[in-house]
């Protein structure tokens, strides 16, 4: 199956684009997607282990199985509020 992975924030900047198409075998899960993303976009590889993966607007663990119609996004942790600018 062919999925379009949306990227945000630092992940998009490192990849140099906001969408990455990936070819994955049927039955692939989020862990397989991480491996394919690191292999397909070498600039993202160092970041991939800490990226969050969302499937259909829900955070997805590595065991979650993907389907051809899945909406998939990859992005770094959200701001969290420990660093500056806004409380």
């Amino acid at each position: 199956m062919r999925l379009s992975i949306q990227l945000f924030a630092l992940a998009r900047d490192k990849a140099g684009r906001s969408v990455v198409p990936l070819e994955l075998p049927d039955g692939a899960n989020v862990a397989d997607l991480r491996a394919a993303l690191a292999a397909g976009v070498p600039a993202l590889a160092p970041l991939v282990p800490v990226l969050l993966i969302a499937v259909d607007s829900e955070y997805a663990r590595d065991e979650v199985v993907l389907r051809p119609e899945s909406q998939v996004a990859a992005f770094p942790p959200v701001s969290g509020g420990t660093a500056g600018g806004v409380a």
């Binding site: 945000f8 630092l10 800490v50 942790p77 969290g80 660093a83 500056g84 806004v86 409380a87």
Partner: protein, 147 residues
């Protein structure tokens, strides 16, 4: 009222959206753009959202807060795009019968929002350099869901 907006946030409108004769308490939190973080000076901030997911997560936060506290009305408005010093980045307002539950719900909403809603912040420092704020990039940090 749950909104992501490119327009400046009007706190008066957010308050009006939660006023009710059933409520004795309104707790409003505003996150505003602060100039200094320690020694470092901010020129502006840029917020980016994964809109569809952010709205879904905010809707879930509202449902979870309503299950935990006797909330009369609740509003969350988050700005996206470029913000200047002093601008309001986020507004959370809760009206409740009594004040203890209002403070608790408002603080919980802000704390949880900052962990789970996919909105990212980029600092533009006074020297013009840009930097994403991703405090969880350390792999030892827990992901924002129960594992």
């Amino acid at each position: 009222m749950i909104e992501l907006t490119h327009e400046p946030i009007d706190p008066g409108r957010v308050i009006e959206s939660v006023r009710s004769h059933q409520a004795g308490a309104i707790c409003l939190f505003l996150g505003t753009v602060r100039e200094f973080t320690g020694e470092r000076q901010t020129r502006s901030l840029a917020y980016e959202a994964y809109t569809a997911m952010a709205e879904a997560r905010l809707t879930d936060l509202e449902a979870e807060a309503r299950a935990r506290w006797p909330i009369v009305a609740l509003s969350i408005v988050h700005r996206v795009g470029d913000l200047e010093l002093g601008d309001i980045a986020v507004a959370v307002a809760v009206s409740t019968p009594h004040r203890g539950e209002g403070f608790a719900a408002c603080q919980w909403l802000m704390d949880t929002l900052k962990q789970v809603v996919p909105i990212w912040k980029q600092e533009v420092w006074a020297d013009g350099t840009r930097e994403w704020v991703h405090p969880g990039l350390d792999p030892s940090n827990a992901p924002p869901f129960e594992s």
